[in-house]
Every structure is written in structure tokens, then in C-alpha cells.
């Protein structure tokens, strides 16, 4: 019996040894009670606000939410897949609206939380706290800008808020701009926020006063407060930002911290922290296998001037081109020396093969792209131009031919992910050869959200909208001079560079922006701000168009209400105080 008691005693002793058995805590995350309580945690929290700039990024397939992907909605780009927005079939239930809404508000929520807790909890030194709060205010202003650009009037929350508090109605568009301008004014007035970080500064990528001026100028632009906008843009110049000399090298990793970059999403070669542009704008001939999910639109390609500054015209190279049917036109894009089967296929697709030159077909089409604004060749992979990619293990220079035969050397056709189609492809930001990036979905090049050329052209716009003036022309010419395009002038009407009036210059500035910012996600917002979106993008016959004008799918304008985004249907159901933008029906 003694033995038994001893055994039982031992067993119970074994059990009693872990009193806190039920107190477990995660080891990969931090409890909210400890957050913000140290200097390090303060830094981590602010870094988390910056990381909200990456929300919506998907490294597995295009999210259609990343900044550059907005080109598909504008005049400069198009979507390989049928795009609901452009086909006019999008409804307020579409994930495009809900994801954007949620991501931008997440950024605001993080900024609100940081601003409040840095002020009240963080033990960091005062000057640092003031700088960090200013950075977070800028970021909050940036996210409100994104919201207001789309929806034009959204609920404003400036404090952290919970589930039960998310019931505010929409503020007016103007009052949201005021909130943005307030935050940015706070940044500008904050002595601890630097004006600019030098290249290589450990803080490079953080918010500066220069960025705050640029973003505030943009907000004034939306308010059509031209004078204040121009004044802010002038401050950006004063801050020491300037154009980088080489338009091609500007978009390479070496120059991602050039003085032209004012505010950019920081990319490094780490999955989840890099750029996806290679993946979704590159092709199978880019290293790995990229998807060319987005294309350049022929409309913007045709907008690139001839190198003397005159307008490009197809008829000057291929007489009769514009009056042919798009299907028939494809003959001009076919490669030399087609096989019988390729000819048969081309005929069945509707090509007018009477125009085919077995030798010289390629040379003829190449003339179209010769002697043009140099930005065309730098932004776009045009027919029969070369691209320095990677095929298999080797760096291979491919040529963009049609129809595609093989990616292998010696001929090395550029292979897209959809070889039966012939679209203009993006060259800008798409890495070349194997040394420029480690992986298709985490390219290293920072993505500019605001760069100085943008500021110059917004500045020119702000001045021109006040009055037609030489100073506005001069600002545009700075951008043109960098790529060797002849300067605009208002003195010699015989030259193609002649600008006659405020309206003329307005169109020139807009075109300059269209050709300068291809693949930078700027054009769509420009067109809806200018209310030119319908005319420039939804013209009769417009669509996701192959080079010769044949649409993979057709754009459909369903009404002016499309200028404003739809409030997400689910959010209206959860917050009855939200009022839908007129015209949208579910």
C-alpha cells in the first residue's frame, strides 16, 4: 500500500509542475498592449505605415491595384484580360472598388494609430517623434488623396477607430482636399522634417518636405487653386529637385535615388518588397516567364511626335493605312519570308496579303518607328525592335517579330505570353538581362509616385491655367530638352513646335504628360481630372487594341458617372450613412 501511495504522489507531483499551462502567447507577433512602448517599436510601427504603400501588391498574379497597373484604364495602356471597367460592365460590387477602399483606409488607420500613439505612448526623443508624426501625416494625406481622386468625397477619420465607429457619412470632395492640405501644411511647418535626403542617406525613401510641397501642389491643382499650386511646385524646385539627364537610365536601379525622384515606393530584391513590373509587363523572353498582363495602347504610340516635333501620321509612311480595315492592316506587321502555313493563317485572320513584301516587309514597318520622339523607343517595344532578355539560362537579345516562331537563337523571336496576338509591349521599368533583377516578381527599382518631371508639367499646367505665358512653355521645354525634342515656342508659326494659345498649350502639356509618364500610373488620373477620359479613351471603336487597331475587346462608355468610382456595395450595406455616387446601380 505504501508503494501505491508513493506512485500516486509522484504522478500528481509531475502534473503540478506547470501552473501556467494555460497561459500561451504568440511568438511571431506582438501583443497590442506592448506596441509603441519602446523606441524600437515606434520605428517598427512607422515602418508599418510605410508598408501600407505596398497594400494591393500581389506577387502571384496582377492585382490591378498597383499604381502602374492604372495605365490600363487610361489612354496610355490597356489590359490583356477583358477589363470590367473599360467594358462598362463593372458594378459597385466589383472587387476593384472594395479592395482599393479597404487598402487606402488601412493606410489611414495605420497612420492614425501611429500619430496618436507616438504622441501619447512612445518614449522616443521629442524631435524624432515630431519627424515621425510628420511622416505619418504625409502618408495619411497621400492615402486620402488616392481616395479622393477616385471617389471625390469620402468619410474622414483622423483618429484610430473601431468596428462600431465606422459609420461616418462621406465628407465633400473639397473638405477632403482641405484635410489633405492641412496634414501637408503640418509637414511643411515641421522643422524636424528634412527638405530632401541625399542619395545614399540611410533615411532615403522617407518623407521629405519636398514631397509634401509636391503633393500639396497636386491637391491645389485638383481644387483648381492654380496660384497656390504653382507656388508649391516652385518650392519643390527650391528644395533642390531637378531632372535627371538621361531618360533611359532614369528608370534603372542605379538612378532610383537621382534628384528627380521626390517620393517613390522603395523596392528591393526581396519577395514582397520588390517591384512586380517585370512579371506583369515583361514577356516570356524576360528572365523567367513573365505574363505581359498589360500592354501599351496604340493610341499613345501614335501620339509620339516625329523627331522634328511634328505630329506623327501613318499616311506619311504607309499611304492608305488609315482607310484600311484594322484586320487588313496586319499585313504590314508580318515578318519577312512567311511560310505557306503562316500566310494561310494570316489570310484566315483577314490580312490583306496583296500588300505583303516577302523581303522588305519588316524594313517598311520599322520606318514607322524611326525618327520619332526618343521616348517611344525607350518606353515601348515596337515591332522588329530588340529586347535584351533572358531565354533559358542565357542572356539573349530577342526581336519582336510576328508571327512568333521560336525564342531560341539564332533568330530569337521575342516570345510573349500570348503569341497569337501582336500588341505593343512595355519597355520602361522592365528589367533587361539577368543582372538587373533576381526574380520576376521582386524587381529592385524604386517606383516613383512623384518625380520632378511630373512637378514641372503640373507647374506648367498651373501657370497656363492662369494665363498663357512663356514661363509655362519653358517648363514644358525642360522636359522635352532632356530627350532632345525641339523646344516649343510661340514665335514662329511655320514650325511644328509653334504654340498659339492657352488652349493649344493646354493640349501640348497634356500630350507631354501622356508620352512622358507611360507605365507610371499617372495618365488615368490625369484624364479623369481633365474630364478628357471619355473623348481620349472611349472614342468610337476604342478597345484593347492590337497594334493594327483590332480590338481584343471593345471599350464601352456607359455614362459620365464613370468618372467617379462607385462606393463599394458591401460598404454601403454595412454603413447606411454612405451615399452612392449618382449613376452607379448594382
Amino acid at each position: 500500500m505504501k508503494n501505491i501511495i508513493a506512485i500516486i504522489a509522484v504522478i500528481f507531483l509531475l502534473e503540478g509542475c506547470k501552473k501556467d499551462l494555460l497561459d500561451t502567447a504568440p511568438t511571431n507577433a506582438l501583443s497590442s498592449t506592448t506596441m509603441w512602448t519602446t523606441d524600437n517599436l515606434t520605428d517598427l510601427g512607422v515602418n508599418g505605415v510605410y508598408a501600407a504603400l505596398r497594400l494591393g501588391q500581389n506577387t502571384g498574379g496582377p492585382s490591378y491595384l498597383e499604381p502602374y497597373q492604372y495605365d490600363r484604364l487610361g489612354m496610355t495602356g490597356t489590359n490583356r484580360s477583358a477589363d470590367n471597367f473599360m467594358m462598362g460592365t463593372i458594378t459597385p460590387s466589383d472587387g476593384f472598388f472594395s479592395s482599393n477602399w479597404q487598402n487606402f483606409y488601412e493606410g489611414i488607420q495605420r497612420a492614425n494609430t501611429a500619430i496618436k500613439n507616438i504622441a501619447t505612448i512612445s518614449p522616443s526623443i521629442a524631435t524624432k517623434k515630431l519627424r515621425l508624426i510628420a511622416e505619418c501625416k504625409f502618408l495619411r494625406a497621400y492615402f486620402y488623396t488616392k481616395l479622393n481622386q477616385g471617389w471625390r468625397g469620402v468619410p474622414v477619420y483622423l483618429e484610430p477607430f473601431g468596428i462600431a465607429d465606422a459609420t461616418k457619412p462621406r465628407a465633400t470632395e473639397d473638405s477632403v482636399w482641405k484635410v489633405i492640405i492641412n496634414d501637408l501644411t503640418d509637414c511643411i511647418n515641421e522643422p524636424n522634417l528634412p527638405i530632401k535626403y541625399a542619395k545614399g542617406d540611410a533615411n532615403y525613401g522617407r518623407i521629405t518636405k519636398g514631397a509634401a510641397y509636391a503633393l500639396r501642389g497636386k491637391a491645389y491643382l485638383y481644387q483648381q487653386n492654380w496660384a497656390l499650386a504653382a507656388a508649391d511646385f516652385a518650392q519643390v524646385q527650391m528644395a533642390g529637385f531637378s531632372l535627371f539627364s538621361d531618360y533611359h537610365l532614369l528608370f534603372k536601379e542605379a538612378n532610383e535615388q537621382s534628384p528627380e525622384m521626390i517620393f517613390s515606393i522603395q523596392n528591393i530584391s526581396v519577395l514582397g518588397l520588390g517591384s512586380t513590373i517585370d512579371f506583369f509587363c515583361g514577356t516570356r523572353s524576360s528572365f523567367g516567364s513573365c505574363w505581359n498582363s498589360f500592354y501599351v495602347s496604340p493610341v499613345v504610340v501614335d501620339l509620339y511626335e516625329n523627331s522634328d516635333g511634328s505630329k506623327f501620321n501613318w499616311e506619311n509612311i504607309i499611304p492608305g493605312y488609315t482607310s484600311m480595315s484594322p484586320l487588313a492592316r496586319q499585313v504590314y506587321f508580318l515578318r519577312d519570308g512567311l511560310t505557306a502555313s503562316e500566310i494561310n493563317a494570316a489570310v484566315s485572320r483577314g490580312a490583306d496579303m496583296t500588300k505583303y513584301l516577302p523581303v522588305g516587309n519588316e524594313a517598311r514597318i520599322k520606318q514607322v518607328y524611326a525618327n520619332r520622339d526618343p521616348r517611344l523607343a525607350l518606353n515601348v517595344i515596337t515591332p522588329y525592335s530588340n529586347y535584351n532578355g533572358v531565354v533559358g539560362a542565357a542572356n539573349v537579345t530577342s526581336t519582336y517579330r510576328f508571327p512568333y516562331r521560336t525564342s531560341a537563337l539564332p533568330t530569337a523571336d521575342l516570345q510573349t505570353d500570348a503569341t497569337t496576338f501582336y500588341f505593343y509591349l512595355y519597355r520602361k521599368f522592365v528589367d533587361e538581362n539577368s543582372n538587373e533583377s533576381l526574380g520576376r516578381n521582386y524587381g529592385p527599382v524604386d517606383f516613383p509616385l512623384i518625380r520632378y518631371a511630373d512637378v514641372l508639367l503640373m507647374w506648367a499646367e498651373a501657370i497656363n491655367e492662369q494665363a498663357f505665358s512663356q514661363s509655362a512653355i519653358g517648363l514644358v521645354n525642360q522636359v522635352r530638352a532632356r530627350v532632345g525634342m525641339p523646344a516649343l515656342q510661340s514665335s514662329d508659326p511655320t514650325k511644328p513646335t509653334y504654340v498659339s494659345s492657352q488652349a493649344d498649350l493646354r493640349e501640348r502639356i497634356r500630350n507631354e504628360r501622356r508620352v512622358e509618364f507611360v507605365n507610371e500610373g499617372i495618365n488615368y488620373y490625369d484624364e479623369i481630372r481633365w474630364k478628357t477620359w471619355k473623348d481620349k479613351v472611349f472614342f468610337p471603336g476604342s478597345g484593347s487594341s492590337q497594334i493594327w487597331g483590332q480590338n481584343a475587346y471593345t471599350y464601352n462608355w456607359t455614362g459620365d458617372f464613370m468618372y467617379l468610382w462607385a462606393i463599394p456595395q458591401v460598404e454601403i450595406a454595412r454603413n447606411p450613412n454612405l451615399v452612392q455616387n449618382p449613376g452607379w446601380s448594382n
Binding site: L22, A29, T89, F161, T554, Q569, E571
Partner: protein
Amino acid sequence: MRLFNYRLLLLIFFATFFAHEALSQTQVIKGWVTSSKDNQPLFGASIQVLESKTGAQTDENGAFTISVKEGNHLKISNIGFGDKIILVSKGQTLLQIAVDPVLGNLDTVVVVGYAVQKKVNLTGSVSTISAKALDNRTVTNVSSALAGLSAGVRINQSSGQPGNDAASIQIRGVGTLSSSSVLILVDGIQETSLDAVNPQDIESISILKDASAAIYGSLAANGVILVTTKKGSKNKTTVSFNSMFSTTSPINVPHFITNYADFMRLMNEGYTNVNQSPIFSTLTINAWDSTSKIPNQLNPIGVPNYVAYPNTDWSKTMFQHKLLSSNNISLSGGNDMTRYLMSVNYLQNPGVMDNTGDNRYQIRLNIESKINKVITVGTQTFASTEYIGLGDVGTAFNYLFQTTPGVYPYYNGKYGFPSAPEESSTANNILFYLHSYAGKNQTSRFNTTVYANLNIFKGLVFESKANYQTWFNEQASHSTPAARYNFNTMTIGLALPSLSTAAVTQSMSKDYAIVIDNVLRYNTIISKHHDIGLLAGYNERYYNYYTFSASKVGMTDFSLADFNTVTTPQTTSGYQTDFSNRSWFGRINYAFKNKYLLEGNLRYDGVSRFGPSSRWGLFPSLSAGWKISDEQFMKQFDGWLSSLKIRASYGVLGNNASGNYDWQSVYGASNYSFNNVQVPGLAQTSLANPNLKWETTYVTNFGLDGTLFKNKVSFVIDAYNRYTDGILTTVPIPLTVGTASAPVINAAAVQTRGLELSLGYHGHLNGIQFNLNGNVAYNTNVVKTYKGPLIEGYTTDANGNKVYQSNLGQVSSGSTTRILEGHKIGEDYVLDVYKGDATYKNADGSVRINGGPKDGMIRTPNDLAWAQAMLAAGYKLLPGGTVTKSTIWYGDIVYADKNGDGSYGNSYDSHFTGKSNLPKYIYGFTADITWKGFDLYMIWSGAAGMEYYWDATGYNDNNVRNGFALSKLSVDNRYYYNDLNPSDPKNNINGSKLRLRSSDPQDHAASTFYLYDGSYIKLKNLQIGYNLPAKLIQKALITKARVFASGENLLTITKFPGLDPEMGPNVNYPTMRQLSVGLNVTF
């Protein structure tokens, strides 16, 4: 082994000795009686010679000796077992007799929580499954073998992938929105997977379906499965050897169009149908047409046509017949002090796809030793390890429909690439994905329990157990890339990727649990009639999981995969998670005159998943039974009613199925970089709910157990009501709050109700023994509370316009399957297809809104004109919007305007259909028939009353996409109408499938058009066996030898057109059909 040999020698001696006697009329037979359930010897069984009325009884080893005459019959009877009659043949001297236990018989014992109980005294709803149902099944795991065997237990195998083929188990349907997984205990210890156990080691399985599970309190809300493994038997050493070989083949495969010329024509049809250019030229189509007639001829560069001009059947390429083998040796035995069981199992399951097989080794050691009168100690220890092929099944199925017959899989050591010039270069070579990785994927388990039982004094027992169990998976894989060739031109279509991008990944995941379990039990009988049982216990468990993985890129050679040979680190990641629980529990059993039965349970549970203030919960239960047939007034029915018991139970159970740390709000990693240096960041990733607490289930059960006609017929009827409240779930939160995940809250209530019936018949006729069992269960669920009622309808907005409003997004979550108060869990929420009467116009010539096409499909010019007239009259046909070839045209469907707002098919027209993917009925049937040495066994299992929403490109919808597959389901009997040539012989205006189209804004709104009835019944198992005559085998020292042929998944009867109704609307690794032969030998 010495003992064993000695006994056999004795047998041989007897055999030869009595051989002389065989000449005379009388012969002496030496025999053994065992239970067929567990091969245990039966003591005290009576042996009667029917002709001479002489008899004998078995001794404690189950042995007997009796004198009989040739041609006499022996009747073997024993309480709890069915009678057996055996004809004595000439010269027979040795007899091994296995008798079958009878359901509902008096002494049958059932394992229940922390105890065993006589089946007749059960007051809860408990099903049992004996080893017999698992014997000789070639199934690769226990879980899938249970299908059809128990009323209300749904066994659903949704993948046949070796190593990943466990079936899901649901007891009495789904009664919660959180986890509905059942608690599994193996020899009293919680296990994460039923399939950790070697099927051949199982002695019995009990399934606790109602408040009988309450002793497990908060773990048991979804039911409990108790597995008991075999023990050795005293003084009898048994070696049994089971060997099985089976062919494997998929029970079904997707049926793609395999003739490439046909495929190309169909593709072109889909493109021209919507006014787009055809993809394929006639030249290419003709090339395939002509070469497919001369497949073996060589093309100009010497490649045979069948390779250069492929017509690949990807289903045939990917799914194959293979050979599976399973071998098992068990050794059991013991003496008065010690009993043991040892077993080894080796399973070689190649699956039905290349490089996806599973080689599994399982071992077990059960030992129990009596140290003295008081103390007994023992262990149950088992371990397994398995190696699973590295074929990339996930990617293969992801791309299975993203290829065409125009890609030849593999030829002369090379992988194929699309051959036709117009084919999408992204049409995949699926076979390659099964070969794209090499390395190792090993999963191991180890589980050991050490226990001590103390018989402190009569009736008082203390049992203590300690258990350690661990599961770990180790993987080391590297890519084995290959170039792809266009075999038509023998040129490289896709080059070999660079070594610099080739990746090597190593990962390790491990979990472990430590369990301590103590039980004090006391049983006594007071003044004859008061049978009292008391139980008190304590249990604690700690569970921990961690994982680590790292990858590098830049192999120096494709054959060198060690980390040290790879150049660039790429990713490293890892984390751990844990949880723990602690419980006290008790039970009182009381029986008066063995007729009135009462049981009460109480459990007090704490779990780490909830905050300190709400961590503990109390879970009581009560049940009662009345053996009414034992009452005097029931004796009058004795003629037909053998036994009848009424029982009722009520209990409160819990469920803690939230995340491990959901009550705490956490900041998770959200990293960024400055100046090209990565910086860690934190952001709130989940919202907290400090008040999180137990989900509570209230179960009421009424049951009736009975037997009729001298126990020949048995039945069990159960009716239950289960109400689960405070369900742990997340409800939709405003998007404005951000991306942090919604907090888990105790938000919803679900009620499930059901009826279960099991019916058995046990009898014999002309020497044929029947054992027939059927069960059927009805189950239905309804969400009782969620986020409030749905309110929708017309209101007038600020501008005086009538607008349709709905709060669906606020009160409901999901998309095509939704959660809403008053509806089923996951009820289908879709559009109706329009139904009209095809009269088109009103008397005044205006368009008649109810006069459209009868089945909603635009088939005739009148239908089309109606659609145009509808638009002209201001109605909307959505989502297509317009009537054109590329939007709504011949061969498309239009949707019903359910809410009457003039928009046909906008999102407000979706409605709750009353259907979900959970079955209303599940049923099973088993037949066990023996005749002389032969036996026949079969299991049917099925489910009915569920609907699946299935709309999948390449499998069943009408989308054609360049580079994607076309399925016969989409193509056969599709609508086609050439409106330029109404007499086109291709026209098929009565087709049941929609027209093919390359872009589709209309036909794929979620609608009833893509809802399918998923009901099925399957012949899960059929086996025919033959026990070799004792005479033949006894000379080889064998006591039992059975050969058999068996088939698994032989037949599926269903209307569901998809791969497998059990799998649902998915195309996954198919379950296997197996045809096997096997041998069981017992020494």
C-alpha cells in the same frame, strides 16, 4: 515461440493418433472456439451434437474435445454470439471455429469515454464498428474505411492522393460555423488523425454521437471516435500474416476532347460565335486531319505523326493503372502475467499518378504486465514513417485544364511543347509537373503511452496515463527542369532555365503533444439491485507546432542539391504556435435492477485559447434509460419482441475552435525598406476580442434500441436536436476599418436536427449465414442567429425615386454560398434562370415580359427578337446588357427578374435556393454472408440531398480559351445555330449546353444553371473469401488460412457529371478503384 511449437507438435500428435479412428463411425474432434471479432478464445461456449444430444464446453483457452459421428452436426452457442452449426466431415479431427458476436446481445461490451459498458446498459447514442469491417480492406487508411458503417457518420474522401487521402469525418452533419471536426482518441489518448493507426491493429471503434460524449466536455461537441487497439491473449500465441495486392485505377477521370483537329474546330467555333477571328487556320486543321489517319508515318524530319501532330489524351497520360501492395504481420500472445501484441505493416501505394506514391511503414507494440495483485503497467506505442513522391500534384491539377491535345507529353527523353503554330505557347505540359521536383518528403509519427492501473481494493481502480506523441515532416526538394520541344519541328519551344534560378528548398515541420490522464473509478453493487459506478478524473494536454523552411537559388549543377552547393540564400521562414487545456471531470452511473439506468457527467475545462476571464467552462450532461422489455407487462410480447430499451440524454458540450491566440490583438510583420535596406515593420494584423469564450452546444437525444424475433432483427432509432450557441466565427466588418482580420467573436447559433435508423438482420438458412445491416440518417441545419434578418425591398430615396435596397452585405457573409439567419449553413445564393411561356407578345403587340424562352435559353429567332424587344421596351438583360453576338445571342441564357425591378439578372435578383452542399441524407448498407468456407462481404455508402455549384472552364462551362482544354461535358450536345444559314447541318437548337464562346459577359453569373444534384451511392467494398479447409492446412501448422478477392470503390451511381460526387465540385486527385487478391494466414 517455444510454447507455440510445443502446442503444434501436440496437435500433430493428436492428428496422427486419431487418424486411425477415422475408419470407424465415431471420431474424436479437438477444436477451438474464438470470437470472429478479435480472434480471442471463448471460454464456456457450449458445443452440442444435434443428433446425439451430447455436449461439451470450451475451457479457458477456448478448446474442447468431443466424440461425434461423421455427418453429425455440431451446434456452437455462446452468450453474446450467434449460434453456429457445423457439419462434421469424414476424418475430421481438428476444428477451428470462429463465432460472430451478435448485436444487442446481453454481454456485448462497448468502449465509452474512460470506461467500458455493457451495450444493453448504454443510455447514450453510441455506434460501434468491429475489426471485421476493416479486415481485408485494401483501403490505405482507417478513415475512408468507415464509410457506410454507422448511422449519421459521414465519411467523405475528397482526394485519393497517397499520403493525403484521409477522409473527413462528420458526425450528425455540421452544427457550427467553426470547426466541425470530431475528437479522436486512440486507446484513450487524443490523436490528431485517425489514420495514424494501422487498420489491422484495431479491435473496435466506438462513435459517441450525443451527450454520451460529455465526459470529454469541450472537446466533444462534434462527436467522439474511440479506437481500441488489440491486446495479446493469454496462453495463446498467434501469428497472423496478411498480404494483399491490388491494382489501382482512378474511379473517374475528366473527359477532354482529345482529337486535336476537332478541338481546333471547336475553338474556332467559340471565337467566331462572338465575332472574333478564329484561332486556327484550315491549313493547320487539315494537317492534323490528314496525319491522324497515318499516325505511324514519319514526318519530313523523321518524327512519327502521332508525336509530331499530337492528339494527346491528358487524362490517359496523367492517370494510370498501378499496383499496390500491403503486408502485415502481427504477433500476439502472453501468459498470466504479461500480454503483448506486435505488428509491422508495410504499404506500398503508388497512387494513380506518376511520382505521387506513398511508401509507409507502421509498427506497434502493446504490452501489459501485471506486476502484482495491485499494479498492472503497460504501454501502447506505435510509430510510422512514410515517403511521399514529389510529383507536384497541386500544380498539375492547377494546369490540368490549361493545356490542349496539341501538346505531346514525352518522347525520346524530351518533354513536348505545343506543335501547332497558332497554339498558345502557354498550353502546358502537365506531365512535366509530376517530374519537376526531386528530393525527399518524409512524414513520421511516434506515439507512446505508458500507463499504470492500480486495483486499490475491490471495485476501486486508479488509472494513470502519460502520453507523448509527435508528428514531423521533413522535405528537401529541388527543381529538375527540362526544356520543352516542339516535336513537329524538333526545335526547343521553351529553353532549359538557368542554373542560377534553380531553387533548392528544405523544410521541417513538427508538432508534439504531451498528455497526462488520471482516472479514479469505483464500481459497487449495493443490496443486489443498486449498481453504482463513480468516476473522477483529471486531464491535461499541451500541443506545440513549429516549422522552419529555407530556400536557396543558383544550383551549381542540376544534380547537386545539397545546400552547400547552392549559391544564393533566398528565403528563410519559420514560426511556432501552441495551445493547452486542462480538465477535471466526473461521472455517476446508477442502475436499479439493471432496468432503470441513469448517468450523469460533469466536466470543467480550461483552454489557453481564451482570455483568463473566460477561459473556464462547465459542461454537464445527464442521460437515462429504461429497459422496458424487462418489465412484467411486456412479457406478453416476448413472442416477437426480444428486447426494447428507451433512452434519453441531454448535455452541454463545448468547442474551442478558434485560432490559438484570437483573444489577443496582435501586431504582425509588415516590412518595408529604406535606402535599399530592408527594415522590419509592424502593423495590426488582427483585431482582438478579449471576451472570447467557449462555443456551447446543447444536445438532446431520444433513442430506442430493440431486437425482434429472437434477436434476429435488431434496430436502433435516434432522434436528436442540437443547438450550438456562441459560435466562434468572424462576421464581415466594414472595409473602412482596414485590412486587419476581423475578430473572432461568439456570434452565431445553429440548430441541427436529425433522425437515425439502423436495422440489422441476422439469420441462417440452409447453412448460409446472413448478417445484413443498413442505416440511414436524416440531418438538417439552420442558422438561428447571425447578424440580423435580411431586409430588402423598395424604398424611396431622397430624390423621390423608388430604389431597391438590401442589407444583405450587412447581415450575411459569403458570395454564391452564404450565411444568413433562418437559412442553411452555406446555402446557395444564385440567380434563377429565366422561365417564360414563349408567347413573346401581348395582344397589343407589346413585348410580354413572361413570354420569353421557356428554359431561359435563347434558341430561336423569336427568342432573340423577344430579347431585343425587351431591351427596346427599357428592360435590362444583365450582365450582358445588349443583344449582340459578343454579349447576348443564340445559345445564351437570360436570368429571371426575381425582384421585379425590370433588370433581369442584376445582383438583387439572386436568391436563397434552400440548397447547400451538405447532404440531407446519408446511408449505408453492409451484407456479410457466409456459406461453408465461403464468405461474401459488401459495403454500400452514399449521401443525398446536396447540391453543388460548379462552373469551371475546361471542365463544364462554355468558355473556350486559347491554350485551355475543352471538355466533353461542355461540347457534347451544345447549342449551335448559324443564323446566316438556318439549315446548317451543324445547327443544334435543342442542345442542352450553352454555345461555346471565347469571351463571356452573360452566361457566368452565378445561377441555378450551374447547380448540380450531388446525390450518390457507392459500392465501397465487395469481397469474396474462402477459408481453406482445416484438413488441408493443419499439416502446414496453420490454424486459419483465407484467400480472398476484394474490390474498393467498384461502382458509383450518381447524376452528378463531375469527377466524383464525394469530392464535390472539384477536380482533384481521383480516389482509387482497387481490385485486389489477398491471403490471411494465422498460425
